[in-house]
């Protein structure tokens, strides 16, 4: 456990030190504040805009960080040859993967939480009251990031940085287009195509399961069972991805 914690701490610090991180933080906070000044153009819809922008910015921030930093997480160690030092120690490769995963996830969780607080402050400045309800976006955004980080680690365990980030983007796009894949599967008349489409739909990650922004901003009912299933889905999918990553990483030879 201590070994994993050491890797978590190291990944956390290392990721935080990256300049791109600072840039993204400043840019995201600025965007949250800018949404306050959209009132003259919004024709009475500025409270909605304020919420939408805040939630979207914090989610987008997490996605950008995970794709930019997550895709280099393992490669950097290989390029700098620090991985040799780590694997030479009594640490299992699966522990390296888990440590890297948790380190970056904690960092993003911390920053997204800070953004959610800033968002609440902006809402308070604008409306004189907080909107605690929309904070529910935070855990779901983090589950989405968890899955995405799992995918990135999986690809980085056997491919290059460029391919990893491209695959990250592709899986992100597919993950959000999943409902359309199901629509296609429902609509197609060819049985083979239908089964293939259904197969892909159920195997590929459905990131729309973690998108509650529409429900939150319009205060639509969120059903407990659906939410629970989504949380379980996210966790199990991540465990599956990490397990697969660990398996591949265990086999990898470092020369």
């Amino acid at each position: 456990m201590n070994r994993v914690l050491a890797i978590v701490e190291n990944t956390f610090k290392e990721s935080l030190r990256q300049r791109i991180m600072l840039l993204l933080i400043i840019f995201s906070i600025l965007l949250i504040f800018i949404s306050m000044f959209l009132e003259p153009f919004a024709l009475g819809e500025s409270p909605k805009l304020l919420r939408d922008f805040g939630m979207a910015v914090s989610s987008l921030f997490g996605i950008l960080v995970v794709i930019i930093i997550g895709s280099t997480l393992i490669h950097k160690d290989i390029e700098k040859r620090t991985i040799y030092t780590v694997i030479a120690k009594p640490v299992r490769r699966s522990e390296i993967i888990l440590g890297k995963f948790l380190g970056l996830l904690f960092l993003i969780a911390l920053l997204e939480s800070a953004m959610a607080i800033i968002h609440q402050i902006v809402i308070f400045i604008y409306e004189g009251k907080f909107d605690i309800h929309i904070l529910l976006n935070l855990p779901f955004s983090l589950i989405e990031i968890m899955v995405l980080l799992g995918i990135l680690l999986l690809f980085s365990s056997f491919s290059s940085t460029t391919l990893t980030s491209i695959m990250g983007v592709i899986f992100y796009v597919i993950g959000h287009a999943s409902p359309d894949l199901k629509l296609f599967a429902d609509a197609t008349k060819t049985p083979a195509l239908k089964y293939i489409a259904y197969g892909f739909y159920y195997i590929l990650p459905n990131l729309e399961n973690f998108n509650l922004r529409l429900e939150l901003v319009h205060k639509l009912p969120i059903f407990a069972d659906q939410t629970l299933f989504s949380v379980c889905y996210g966790f199990i999918y991540t465990v599956f991805l990490l397990y697969l990553t660990a398996l591949i990483f265990e086999q990898r030879e470092f020369k």
Binding site: F41, A42, K48, D52, M55, A56, A177, R213, L214
Partner: protein
């Protein structure tokens, strides 16, 4: 160093002025017109990668610019429905886009048919929303003068769980003034009276209730006069005669009567009138 900074500033200025020059060749609505090339809101929704709600906000901001620009210039709103359709596909619960958009489509674009399509889409998207059927009824009442449809949708709107009294008031008013359905109107005003949240609302409902009750009384008494005339082959001299011959149990009291101002029904030129109507 200063030289380098100056070069950077100069380059930025050139780029900015070029961008400005390029935009000079485009009208502002041409920029918005790009939305026309999206085949449908579904495609935009897929391309939004889960960020369809903020994208709907962005389209909303563009829509307001589009409206303002055309309102001030050529008053042509050819793309209005298309933009609103994309917007409401991205965010099906954007009530303002349905309601305000429908009013703009009817009033400014003179396309009530598109307004109705948009509002029906809104009603399908959120069954519990009262504002979409309300505006549907409002447009039929104010612009299209189709009072029966207007009344139906006002009643639908009034039945929604979050609806305020307003649609019920409109429905009650329409039933009375436009459709002449006194009984329905009375039932609605009684409901409004019993559930009034302040004395002013109660007073308005009371006014309508008294007037409708008076009209119903007059309607009833006139029917009895007809029965009387048919049976006795002459009209009654007074309302007392109706009671005397057993056509009515008693003369109904005029609802407007108070302790200080007495009002009553009487017969003039063969029909029943109220002293309240004279004032």
């Amino acid at each position: 160093m200063v030289k380098k900074i100056l070069v950077i500033i100069l380059l930025l200025l050139i780029v900015a002025s070029l961008a400005y020059r390029i935009d000079l060749n485009k009208t502002r609505h041409e920029l918005i017109g790009e939305l026309m090339y999206f085949p449908s809101g579904f495609v935009v929704r897929t391309l939004s990668l889960g960020f369809y709600v903020p994208l709907a906000d962005f389209v909303w901001l563009r829509f307001i610019q589009y409206y303002g620009e055309h309102r001030m210039t050529d008053a042509r709103f050819d793309l209005m429905y298309h933009i609103l359709d994309i917007l409401t596909t991205l965010d099906p619960y954007f009530v303002h886009a349905y309601t305000l958009g429908a009013l703009m489509l009817t009033h400014d674009a003179n396309r009530p048919d598109q307004a109705m399509m948009l509002l029906k889409k809104g009603m399908e998207a959120d069954y519990n929303e009262w504002r979409t059927p309300f505006i549907y009824g409002f447009i039929h009442y104010v612009f299209l003068k189709k009072h029966k449809i207007a009344f139906s949708y006002m009643r639908i709107s009034a039945q929604k769980p979050t609806a305020p009294d307003m649609p019920k008031r409109w429905a009650a008013h329409m039933a009375y003034r436009k459709l002449g359905d006194l009984r329905t109107s009375l039932a609605l005003w009684l409901d409004l009276y019993n559930n009034a949240k302040n004395p002013e609302e109660r007073a308005i409902a009371e006014l309508y209730i008294k007037e409708i009750r008076m009209k119903l009384d007059i309607e009833f008494l006139n029917k009895k006069i007809e029965e009387f005339s048919a049976k006795l082959k002459r009209p009654p001299f007074s309302l007392n005669e109706l009671s005397h011959y057993g056509f009515i149990d008693s003369i109904p009291s005029e609802p407007h009567s108070t302790d200080t101002h007495k009002h009553y029904y009487y017969i003039k030129d063969g029909v029943v009138k109220s002293t309240w109507e004279k004032k």
